[in-house]
Symmetry: C4
Subunit: 253 residues, 4 copies
Amino acid sequence: MKDSKIFEISSKKYKDAYLIVGLPGIGLIGKTVADHLIKELNAKKIADLYSPHFPHQVFMTGSGTLRAIKNEFYHAKAGKNDLIILTGDVQAITSPGQYEISGIIVEYCKKIGVKTLITLGGYSSGKLGDNKRVFALVTDKELIPKLKKLGIIFGKAKGSIVGAAGMLPIFGKLAGLKGICLLGETHGAYVDVASAKDLLIALSGYLKFKVDLKQMDKKAKEGEQMLKKIEEELKRTMIQTPEFSKQDVSYIR
Amino acid sequence: MKDSKIFEISSKKYKDAYLIVGLPGIGLIGKTVADHLIKELNAKKIADLYSPHFPHQVFMTGSGTLRAIKNEFYHAKAGKNDLIILTGDVQAITSPGQYEISGIIVEYCKKIGVKTLITLGGYSSGKLGDNKRVFALVTDKELIPKLKKLGIIFGKAKGSIVGAAGMLPIFGKLAGLKGICLLGETHGAYVDVASAKDLLIALSGYLKFKVDLKQMDKKAKEGEQMLKKIEEELKRTMIQTPEFSKQDVSYIR
Amino acid sequence: MKDSKIFEISSKKYKDAYLIVGLPGIGLIGKTVADHLIKELNAKKIADLYSPHFPHQVFMTGSGTLRAIKNEFYHAKAGKNDLIILTGDVQAITSPGQYEISGIIVEYCKKIGVKTLITLGGYSSGKLGDNKRVFALVTDKELIPKLKKLGIIFGKAKGSIVGAAGMLPIFGKLAGLKGICLLGETHGAYVDVASAKDLLIALSGYLKFKVDLKQMDKKAKEGEQMLKKIEEELKRTMIQTPEFSKQDVSYIR
Amino acid sequence: MKDSKIFEISSKKYKDAYLIVGLPGIGLIGKTVADHLIKELNAKKIADLYSPHFPHQVFMTGSGTLRAIKNEFYHAKAGKNDLIILTGDVQAITSPGQYEISGIIVEYCKKIGVKTLITLGGYSSGKLGDNKRVFALVTDKELIPKLKKLGIIFGKAKGSIVGAAGMLPIFGKLAGLKGICLLGETHGAYVDVASAKDLLIALSGYLKFKVDLKQMDKKAKEGEQMLKKIEEELKRTMIQTPEFSKQDVSYIR
């Protein structure tokens, strides 16, 4: 296998579907949302993506089977829309890998009838605490007003987005698709379920579908309690929280 | 040579043959079994595999000839079965290399009539001493009962398998072949002939063929005596045996 | 996207046009000249170049849109000549990347009617102060006399040129085009607008076109004042200016 | 340019020609012999080899022109034989690079009528002093007797040969050509003209041609005098000559 390849399980076509991308990244926010959607919307797997740019490893499962490292596409109906949800174990960690994989994902999207790509990720501000914002970046300015109405913030996220969350909308645009990148504000150094929940609320508001948040609430509460303890510990020991470096974020978690 | 390539010496086809893979890896267990099988079953070479993902070096032999770094396929009849034995000097050490080579190996397998891939490797538990286990992982659950009857353990090996021992069964499955990965428990930091012998007994039990173990017994005994000395030395100097890190295992020995 | 690709906006052909290459490099001299030319000559974009050898990142703009990392081709009429100006965010940082991209740039040049490639870069001599020289290197000796008349120096720049400034003239020559590399002498450790201005004067002298230098004068003066402060500081603290290493120059600024 | 490519200057075909390969490597022995042959036999350039696996740099010459980094093929008549001499600025430093380039060199050899590849290199024994040996390795045992008669030693050089000196005979054999690798014994840490001279004598003895050695004698004497000084210095300071590590040898000098 010299090239990344998508193995289709279903060959169904959709009309004006949305690709929702939640791959491992900052705060594991995108993947947390994608996993939640797949479970709560009872999504069905429609394709697997294998790539020579993923690690040359396989997982050993508890039942004694081998599980490949890959990305997966799922389909679910959410309100009136067809959602294609992309998630997986890893992202490619090199430029040639990201470019190659982004290319075949967009090609696949065009083939099955996706019209808009929505990538989900984290924006690490290095801050702890509540009142975290949801940022968006778009490929076409006409997409902004509807997102702004939902309280999503434009023009305040700065710098660059590394990996699929940024690359896929750009590749989509080159192929005539629309692209939105939703970023949940997060510290960056831990899995942030609370920020993932905010992102999911924004996404479901934008696409007008309902999704049960109970499981996410539960996990977010657990996470917050753990963080409070860490914060108190930090205050007591008078060590300031270090600014989290975006450069050091590992893609594979 | 831009792509890995298999140079066939024989073009014979087989029926429902088994590919037995013993390449360099943890404890050199897979390669030890493969080398023993080739010798004891008087296997004949049927193909060579060259790859730009192998080192750009050649060996100087004692007779003054040059020997390429490569992988080799051998054929032997073992009981009622045709075994294709794959061994070699190295494995590729990058993901693109492993993916490319796995792809052409599986393609070759399909062409010559292999139906099941059995990869052999080591599982480093960092423990010294006897009573080491043989683990198996499979691509299809229906393969488990027959292996369990031979005392092979399922669901206890944890983590991931790096390299060909894990990749080939996965690639085989994508091509419609069955895959079994047999792992001999080992410390990980030395060549473990005793564990290789256990693996060979499991393999020959599964495929119902006989193989002379005298040479392996002899080498295993030598290895055990050397290890006992090391253990005694360690006890005397009160230094605990360090936990062996799977991450640090070099592929090329 | 496995291969670098040029996306054409205009398909117009030119006659005996000049490609002016100002990509990021030593002293940011080439890019400074290219950016100035695009602005002052009111150049129009004619193509974008995307490459898997560029970073897998996208920029977030102040207006909330995503901007790809890429190279861009512009066209402007300068005096009697058609200039195609190539600039961008980055250069490829690997050999395979530079070779691939140089290849498609030269192919594109031939297609749209470019006959001469003029690359712009910096030559880091590690010296501060005025009276910096403009060096040139050419693919054909017959190009030398006309350049010498403009005070451009030959045979004094030593060593090798890393990246597009050196590679493109060589690739152009293999395709039957003429190539000139103009290098502005610079310290190497800072953005040198004064040296960029000297280069622009040499270029406009060679191609006989007029360009407003006011904006460049202003920026150069600001830069010089900042440098004077640094020099005075260095003298006071008695620390000698370190020789700037060409090896350490990062391509991406 | 995605692939390495040979640009032919002459399209002449030969009969049973010899390829003599002297690229940069241990002790610069191969390149020293090749450069001497090109000069003394008045060889004419017949082709250039460019590769994306060579550095993305170009040299600035004293006359103000740009010179690409490349490999070059020359032709000379030596006695009754046609010699094709391959030399150059660098070797590829990665496996994919060496495999790709070896492949196109052997293809070119077959096309122009080369029947035997003779690669020249150094064998670093870490020893100083005279009485250095010439070793040979071959692809076919039938080549040994004639070489042994010339005092060339077989079976004493140990380990592996990194790079073109080892790879080309192996690739040649896969294509049906004969291969000889001649290695001059050398310390490894300096340019060894004396060892290059021994290699040239062996080569000219094998192919029965005459070549003027005056220039080489002169350079070798200069080198020996410099080495004697170093040896005396080492003895005086009682520092033992360190064993030279083959691993650290840089390909590009």
